[in-house]
Point group: D4
């Protein structure tokens, strides 16, 4: 079993300046991760990143997901998995108590989600349409798993601009904004033109024909004429939520 206390001690020394990163790196390298044959479970990623390790369930058998979840639970008390299809959910529910499953977002959590941390500005999670909600929910899940408060604003796309104007104040108050949109992907540009908050754009595969599974939205977002926009992969609500929440959490750090 991993001695997570020793990991913490090493990192505290780094933070305190008593240990160079390089030396810390050398020591961390010698710490055991768990080699369970088909996976090497990385217990100090949480320590490095402030967010739990998340299991990418696609391409793994239900048995593999259960096994990895068990190791994470043992050490962290929380396991989060994405791309969880019903058969994987069933396997998790059979093994663990209190599995929470969001079938829209295909996310499952096992163990206790943390409380939002005081003093951290919320992550605004915005969608252009109703069909984008499943991807947006991934962002909310990972942010909350990292103790970041979340403010969800759904269905405010550019075809009805007055709906967006109603929520400008909430967006202005966020630490970062995750904007989730498919089809032409215009919403991040419009939002970034209106508020002075970093925008993480998440293109979705909502659309058909020349949306090419989200490519149209992805390209639009990469070409945003409004500064302050960066983009993650198509349908990667999880990734957008992670960097968005990292930004929100750091907004508090210097206090």
């Amino acid at each position: 079993m991993v001695d997570s206390e020793s990991i913490k001690r090493i990192l505290e020394q780094v933070a305190a300046g008593g240990l160079s990163t390089e030396d810390a790196f050398a020591r961390l390298r010698t710490l055991p991760f768990e080699d369970i044959g088909f996976a090497r479970v990385d217990h100090h990623r949480r320590l490095r990143r402030g967010f739990p390790e998340v299991i990418y369930a696609r391409g793994k058998t239900p048995g593999q997901v259960v096994e990895i979840a068990q190791r994470l639970l043992d050490v962290d008390g929380l396991a989060l998995a994405t791309f969880v299809e019903p058969d994987v959910h069933a396997a998790l529910a059979e093994r663990f108590d209190g599995v929470e499953y969001d079938d829209l977002a295909r996310v499952a959590s096992i163990g206790r989600m943390p409380e939002p941390e005081a003093g951290v500005p919320p992550l605004a999670v915005v969608t252009a349409g109703t069909s984008d909600i499943p991807v947006a929910r991934q962002a909310s899940w990972i942010a909350r798993a990292g103790s970041c408060p979340v403010d969800e604003v759904f269905d405010v796309g550019v075809a009805g601009l007055h709906r967006l104007l109603h929520v400008l104040e909430r967006l202005q108050a966020a630490g970062a904004i995750v904007v989730v949109a498919g089809m032409e992907g215009a919403l991040p540009s419009v939002v970034a033109g209106l508020v002075a908050v970093p925008v993480i754009a998440v293109p979705t595969s909502v659309g058909y024909g020349a949306s090419f599974g989200g490519v149209a939205a992805l390209l639009a977002m990469l070409n945003s004429c409004a500064g302050g926009v960066a983009v993650v992969n198509i349908d990667n609500g999880f990734g957008g939520g992670l960097i968005g929440a990292m930004i929100c959490r750091r907004a508090r750090l210097p206090e």
Copy 2:
């Protein structure tokens, strides 16, 4: 030389119901077009379409452009050419008097441009940025060549939405709106969400990297979540202006 009177008579009979389209078609087929070896100059396209035949100068030698322009001038009294590079302009200016050359739009006209037709609502020609103006100008040229009034509104992109709000009334009054935008191509969606006028979107190659020479804008426009938008080829201001002006002109026909 072509007897354009006879063409008109045939078409008038069709309009009057005295001749079926099919019979007219059969007769028109027997009318001479001019075969000048490298081109077959089509003198009744103007009659069919209400707009002059336009010379696509790219891929033609200066001599070929001059020759075709001469034939169009002889019959129509007006020749318009697009993609006119300086060497072609020089050849035209040497042969004809009063060539008007728009070096931004790379359009040249020889002969007399018509006056705007009374009672036709204007074609609004809108650009997202200053760099889109050369393409927009193509639209204005062909519309004016077809006697359609034009209202130009430049640099009202989505990154500064308040600039667009200032011109809503002018857009609302148009017979059709040509919206010219590069980069993320979001402007047509936003415009179509605000006004109840048909929008012809013209993507431009303004941008770099993942704009892929205008593909990002093209895809965004094709995927517009706001209804009432149709799209033409990248940088095809001419094509956008042509269908836009056709719509404006027909808005008057039933009077």
Copy 3:
């Protein structure tokens, strides 16, 4: 509940010149739309656009579609939905009486479709082949929902040109022509070369191999050498019908 009378009053003032668009916009922004959590139902889009709001059912749960349809019915008396799969149809049929379902076009309507408006020229809806009919039907549905008469002409592709020549007169009489074609997508160019009516080209995913799900047809249409053609998204019969019907309806306005 929304007071649609007040919306109408505002817009009438605009039409009458007694209120600027900008002021009207400011007022409209303060009018309630309905926030039902997963969607913000936009009741004044119909007023802005002259066509009912249409529910894009893909990516929405049957329950969400039913809920939105209910709100639209309450205000407009008509709800139209596209991309309606059988499970969504079943949910609609269970809740509402008189659901009309076109399983070819995957369109459902609830409530009363309006009568065609007198004096509006018909929208011609043309297909290259039999396999393109489902997409074409979407165009007919939205046009009729907007009170625009429709003239359907199916299976007149370029491989048998004589079939097209038989219907030239009907096409010439249209206010606009929606041309629906897959494979090489050549029909819009040929139609636009024969008649002087704006052509809205709808590429379809009919084809295989290097048709790339409709991309071949889309590109052909964007590159049409015949002026007067604009294009909508692949399989977007709905979008083509909407702008086509907008053009037809405006052809009557100045009377």
Copy 4:
């Protein structure tokens, strides 16, 4: 030097059935081709194919082209080169008398072009527009180099269908038709729908924006809904002319 008589003898034996292809192949393999260091000049391709070896000049230095041309001239009495830029032409003209250079098609011939062979039906070479002529000319060159008569018909694109109807009889009389078109590439489908002759479609890079350097035309041609169409590479007039002329020449063989 190569003893072409011995090659002929081998092949005649094959034709007469006195030698299996396999044995002939083994013998041919032992015949000298000329290894000139940077190239291995293939003197029996003409014998195998009925057409002269053609020098693809792009990517070769002027000196290399001259050297290969010399070897071909020595054996065949004719050298043909494509993609000949002015500097290569200059090098050829300096070394050889009577170089014929088509600067539009960028083709050069050295030596004596053969006469058209009696009894061979002509290859029709058709273009949609004037800008497609340089590519079409490549087809004419290689056909004539193979003794195949050529019938050139230029500028009969689908936007003015009546121009095409004028030449139907000439097309019907051809042994094969090479149809050269850029932009939307619709012409081969229309031609193949009207005549019962094999059509070789040559897409060109004429166009801009979403023509993607000829890809739009290429895809349209590959997806032709009219049977009897096969396609060669973009701007490959030479390849289209070669297979077209092969078909024409074989149409006579059984006599």
Copy 5:
């Protein structure tokens, strides 16, 4: 019902020189095709092309396919359909006697296939691998439906070149060669380098990953360094067989 005798008479006059193509065209246009609502069945395509009209069953309901087949049977005595899935086959088998179904090639024929025509050289149909056979079979079907003899040679791909060398004589004797290959699509180049017969290359979607559903093979074939190769759409064995058989049949015409 269509009077096919009158069609024949018109065409015979053309063949005899007693009627211009143009006049014939005008007359043919007045002949009834059958408008059955969802399709316009083209009875004189067979006459124009020498091959039966083939029903493209994809995207059509079983009922539509049955209906069109009935009309073709009535006039031609033969109906051929491609992309026939089992449900369509079942519908055909229920209505017609003697349906022949090739479940590999997904082709169905109803009525009597003609005998091979004497004096026509065979169409060689060659595959690189076993997995390419279903596509190759489409080519054989249409060729035989057009009375062209067929010589099938399967599994002679470039990874085992000695297998190809065994069949060179058979290929040399063909009127045209259809080469069907997936993956890297190299076989047409190799075949065209060895024999002096026109090669129609058919790329297949056999492969995975960077074969991109046949695009790799398609591009390889379009870029063939060996002249005498033209290409049809991915998996379009039918189209390859049609033009291949047209070439074979014309090889006999001048006799």
Copy 6:
């Protein structure tokens, strides 16, 4: 001229809670921007965003750039332009004193760059190779123009991982990291796996062949398996620097 004091007052009221964003927006909309014909210079973007408006010089004439720069200088005392080619630089240098020109990054500044703001953590700007430096420099420019300190670390790509390990401490201390890389674009993933700081990845067009002008790097970055990475457009060092510096600056705000 614009009364920037009044803009500030409005925004201060918003910040103080005495004015809703909506009301502020309405007021801002009524403030004059400068319409100079070909551009509408947006003077309150700086106020909204905390960074100066930057002139995108590509596609603008030198005269247009000079004119816009003048307006920005008049109000802000600083003008920054990107994509500045030598002719534009010459025009700027002729009109203004003290133009600073970075010919590697193609950035020009006119007027006084601000001092770095105390208490703001630095933006780390990292490149994989020497050839990526010009793009990285864009990031440094905009960050410094927004008063954000910058720490540049060049040539630490993954092919020599020991070079990266030397600078881990500097990266760990940053407020955000801009990672600039071409070719396979692997560096952002590796960096994000080692440090707990938000990473903005900037793909560059450095590379050739299958780098497709930066697409390979772009895709790699979008697919980063290490969380905490978001991406901007190819070669968009400016955009990466802008959002990176926005994050750094907000890291201080709660103090």
Copy 7:
């Protein structure tokens, strides 16, 4: 039946220098392969290549796979098949005893796998993640079928670099390294930067959105900035293992 002894004799003569390759080739060409109608089973590929012929089961019917396996078993005593779906496995298991089936890798073997050959350095097979294991297993299978020892190292992706550092020695000791990775595909570059062993990179389709089914990983690997990397097709673990094992085996040959 094939006389494999005679094949061996020919090749031994070549190895011994008593027969030129060319003569051997000529003789081999005359040896019978088995033509079983739908396939030509190539019994001397094993002899030429040192690895058994492998059956690519995709696109073949279960019966075809069984038949080919029988022929290979008869001659080689071992048959290996890839892309074996459960129905094919069932057919194999019904016909043969001792079928070994790896349902993760979809590989089946019939007959006796050889022992690893002494003195051959192992092939290291490395994966970035757990989801890449099925592809990696293909590599292991073919290597072992060719008597090459295998060292599997799974789940050492770049997001947790310390896991890779643990296995450097094992990688350094390999004869070649097959690196299997999806998503951003960065692992081959990092490995090749650390060890002096040829790296064969295998991109996988693990990922979603802008991974485009493995294209992102493929492009990253092709653009590796670290020399000593070559790439095979997406998900082609078999191909990567084959060339990797060929390299390992030759590393021993000169002894």
Copy 8:
């Protein structure tokens, strides 16, 4: 200055088993590389890889290339640069004596190239055409710089297969084969089907139209149906030569 002796000692200890790779890695990390501001020159890559560090000159200023070359010369006595345009060559020639410049391959070497190492089998470098020679030459350069003998075989493409058969013995004798081809890229498959030697395929941008700058050849090579082929980037003769020579050199190691 770097003490290369100490580097050698460390690595010798590793080779001798007296030092773990991990410990060696830790020590190497502490050794100085040279930080010259715009580049970090990596002097132990040669030691790790057996080949000199090569300067990728594209995107670097002539001054930067000269500076890096100086550092490499000081330590290694040899500097090699690729993508050397004439201006960079001029700068090198001005600074250093004895610069060897291959203007076809755009490679420059400064200092003494090593002799071929005895006992190493040659790297065969094969091209399909004359136009592929510049890329092939890159492969020869890097192989020779790594002391690997080279056997160049040019212009043996598949359109004239007999030319390839002449050199089979030379290919069979190689340690590895680099096959360089553009257009349809079929040569590597054919070579790998004939000989039992690992093939490194190098696609080139030779071709036009649908060769898409080498993509057609790249895809063909990735989809090779003949095992034993791996691929490098388009036009990356250098990369192909490097891994090819690594394989050749290791073929000797166990002695």
